[in-house]
Amino acid sequence: MSTDLLISIIITVVGASTPILIAALGELVAEKSGVLNLGVEGMMLTGAVIGFAVAFVTGNAWLAIAAAALAGVLVSMIFAFLTLSLSANQVATGLALTIFGTGFSALFGQGYTGRPIALFGPLFPAELATHPTWRVIFGYSALVYFSLVMVVAVWWFLKKTRAGLILRAVGENDVSAHSIGYSVIGVRYAAVAFGGAMAGIAGACFPLLLTPQWAERLTAGRGWIALALVVFAAWRPFRLLAGAYLFGLVMTLELYAKAAGGRFSILPSEFWAALPYLATILVLVLISLRGRQSNAPACLGKPFLPSN
């Protein structure tokens, strides 16, 4: 395999992994606070269509990302109000949010089909990325670096800050956190909003980074992969990074292996198509073989009803 091809594969893997990683990081924080939001796919689609619309109208990718994040926050607040303030069932409400986001994005996006936009260009000046090797480091758009910075930021927030400790306490034992005076509902609202913002940005990655168009259901189920990755990564940010890139790698390798034809034809193409699922099963088996308890936040998915 030539170096050029290897570099091309790496660049495609990074592109495929980035939206999944961003969405999963947001969901990780929400789940750490004890809220299971199954609406990631719906929030991503909302972010994707709003991001596309703003990029189309203003031509400014930064504005598009900000608008996508804001749109993600707004729809996540519907979920937060229903599940946190009204104690509705989180699973049902999350699924409803996905259906809502799918429908809303289709309706809102009607005027934007058949209209291409420009891709969000690399963050660093092109001179830095002239050599192929440097392209692997400096050749990406700002969203890619953002996703990597956020992995560290989320880890640092949860592990090293007081606010992160409170958030984890709320997710592990809401009654205790409440009894020593923390606002369980307030913390969870903030965590859900963060999840919404990240899902919105992840959605905007599709038109800005991957395929500069709007099409209905543009995210094609990546939100569900992000949800699964949070469990897969046992709620740990760095493992999430590894998981997202493993998924991106497997998804991309499938395509490159098929495109290479002859050289890989010893393995049938169905094998490559099944590889992401085989990898999932393998990792889940490895995790359970280590015999550790699931790292799930103890209050995940449970409504908090303070008994005053």
Binding site: D4, L5, S8, I9, T12, G15, A16, A106, G109, Q110, T113, G114, R115, P116, L119, F206, L210, T211, P212, Q213, W214, A215, E216, R217, L218, T219, A220, R222, M251, T252, L255, Y256, K258, A259, A260, G261, G262, S265, S269, A273
Partner: protein
């Protein structure tokens, strides 16, 4: 002598009661014919489903108030489609178009339950008393594209993004490859199967994978323009629109397009249903009937290549060229079609092999 008792009186009364009902039913027939469309993608996919949507608009324009249409989008090819079909039938749709291959089994099942509803299944092959099938000879258009690719490819490697290895897609791949090899016998076609009709990010990544491995022309048999956009971004020689003109997405790379024109078929079918002359049969027109149309050529396509492409197009229209004329050898080395023979429609519908030069 008729005995007039309570029982016979009731019969007369009963007939009197039934009459207005019958009249009512006769009256109901002049109410709009309700027509349902069930589609695998969104109408805004800029491709396949958009083509059917345009066909429905032509239908509405032609019949006006005489019809009432429902267009259901993004129905997965699975048990969900059965539910949608049943709902459409229950809502009083008397004619239902199911516009994707994978709906076939469910169409047949629901059609049995609603014998008075007429079903038309696009790209399908299974028929019943109230189930007809229709399709377009896209592979004829693919032969024209192959002619262009054979002339213009410099690396001789062509990337082909396929959805599922079903006969409809296979005959497109083969027709394209045979036509390209007539111009340049060394043409190699590399197929990447995606197992989806509509996942733009995956289509784009497949396009990247093919271009990274030396393909300088891309063809796709999925429903959207994602691959063309990558082709434009990378600046390769070209790609083609599928289902609709996609030049807006790739002004420098979109060489031409195969455009589906479903309107005339829909108008004809609805007229037959209204006249009561509809019968369950297969309709499979192509370039000659104007159901498959080749779009405008990009200015970067040299004049002699346009002329060669038009010669193939006209040859197919007047019948002097058949896209599958032997000798044809498959990619395992077996002769599939003897010299001078052609593949008939049944053979096309059973196509599960690829011609020499295809890696799939």
């Amino acid at each position: 002598m008729t005995k007039l008792n309570r029982r016979t009186l009731m019969k007369i009364g009963g007939a009197g009661l039934v009459l207005p009902v019958l009249a009512g039913r006769a009256f109901a027939q002049s109410e709009p014919l309700k027509i349902g469309f069930m589609n695998v993608g969104p109408k805004d996919d800029n491709g396949w489903t958009f083509g059917h949507y345009t066909g429905m608009l032509a239908l509405e324009e032609h019949f006006g108030d005489q019809i009432e249409t429902t267009f259901v989008e993004s129905v997965p090819e699975g048990p969900d489609s059965e539910r949608v079909l049943r709902e459409l039938a229950q809502q009083g749709n008397k004619l239902i178009f199911a516009t994707s291959f994978g709906f076939g089994d469910y169409v047949l099942k629901v059609a049995q339950e609603y014998p008075d509803v007429i079903f038309e299944h696009a790209t399908g092959y299974q028929r019943a008393d109230n189930v007809g099938t229709y399709n377009a000879r896209f592979h004829e258009g693919r032969a024209v594209l192959g002619t262009i690719a054979g002339h213009m490819s410099q690396t001789g490697k062509i990337g082909y993004i396929g959805s599922f290895p079903i006969p409809e897609v296979n005959m497109g791949i083969n027709a394209f490859t045979l036509a390209a090899q007539k111009i340049n016998p060394d043409i190699q076609v590399q197929v990447v199967w995606l197992s989806t009709w509509n996942d733009p990010a995956k289509e784009a990544d497949a396009a990247r994978a093919l271009i990274d491995q030396g393909c300088d022309i891309l063809v796709q048999h999925t429903d959207g323009p994602a691959a063309l956009q990558v082709a434009e971004e990378r600046g390769i020689i070209g790609g083609f629109g599928q289902g609709a003109d996609m030049s807006a997405f790739a002004p420098n790379t979109h060489l031409t397009a195969i455009i589906d024109v479903w309107g005339p078929h829909y108008i004809e079918t609805v007229q037959e249903v209204m006249d009561g002359t509809w019968v369950a049969e297969d309709s499979w027109p192509g370039l000659a009937e104007g159901e498959v149309v080749i779009g405008p050529y990009n200015e970067k396509v040299p004049e002699d290549v346009v002329a060669a492409a038009e010669a193939v197009e006209n040859g197919i229209i007047d019948g002097s060229i058949h896209p599958f004329t032997g000798p044809i050898v498959d990619n395992m080395g077996t002769e599939r079609v003897a010299a001078g023979e052609t593949v008939d429609d049944a053979g096309l519908w059973a196509m599960d092999w690829y011609v020499q030069g295809v890696t799939a």
